[in-house]
Amino acid sequence: MTRGPQPVIAPTPTTGDETSSHDDLAPTYYVICWNDPVNLMVYVTHVFMKIFGWDRQTAQEHMLEVHERGKSVLVRESVEKAEFYVHQLQGYQLQATMEPVK
């Protein structure tokens, strides 16, 4: 199965410094969207495009992954950004949560 998209991993800024920064140690979270029978597929695609600025194809791939596999990892982010995205997604009534990266 190769149809499902991979998690989008935000690039880590490089500083040229060999010591670890605080950000390197900060916990990161997956923002996950879970399937439900009530949200329309066109609506979910629209919300992903709106919130993440994705093109239609990327948004549809994630929407189909939610629909067919029960969930999709949308992004991997710091706690603040993950919270922001969950607030946005739930404002649109999608079932989204943030789960710590183990």
Binding site: V86, M98, E99
Partner: protein, 157 residues
């Protein structure tokens, strides 16, 4: 409901009189259900996650109030306005986004009020007037969402 014109700053839709009446009713009755307690995580259960969940629910409650204010402004502006062949609805992008969120809140809230049925395609036999109302709200909200989005995607141009 069909798209009449697309402008640089929005869209104009044509609705039948029945569609206009249904849309006004949905907007006016929002929110149709009490806000549900939202979860921020399915695996975490610590004080920090509890704090985050409390903030999420406060944020969602505020967002719902904001949607209600914007919806009332839309109705107060006389939209959808009557026209010889039914009604016209002109929306700018933020207004259409607000309307989509409001309609989906009604759709999801009604689904929750119906007990979160897993199968929405099977024949529906309402057990009460309340169930009939929520099923009608859920279906109507979905109808308008689909129309707004399908038109955007060129489905009925």
């Amino acid at each position: 409901m069909k798209l009449l014109r697309e402008f640089r700053d929005g869209w104009e839709y044509e609705l039948s009189r029945h569609e206009a009446t249904c849309l006004r009713t949905l907007i006016a009755e929002f929110p149709t259900t009490p806000i549900a307690n939202a979860r921020i995580s399915r695996t975490e259960s610590d004080p920090e996650a509890d704090d985050r969940e409390r903030l999420l629910n406060e944020s969602l409650a505020g967002h719902r109030l904001d949607l209600k204010c914007q919806a009332m402004k839309l109705l107060a502006s006389g939209r959808p306005r009557s026209a010889p062949a039914g009604a016209r609805l002109r929306l700018n992008p933020p207004e259409r986004e607000m309307l989509l969120q409001l309609l989906n809140d009604i759709r999801v809230g009604s689904w929750r009020a119906l007990g979160e049925p897993a199968d929405l395609d099977s024949k529906f036999s309402p057990a009460s007037e309340r169930e009939m109302k929520y099923r009608a709200f859920m279906d109507l909200a979905g109808y308008f969402e689909f129309k707004l989005l399908n038109l955007e995607n060129g489905g009925e141009h």
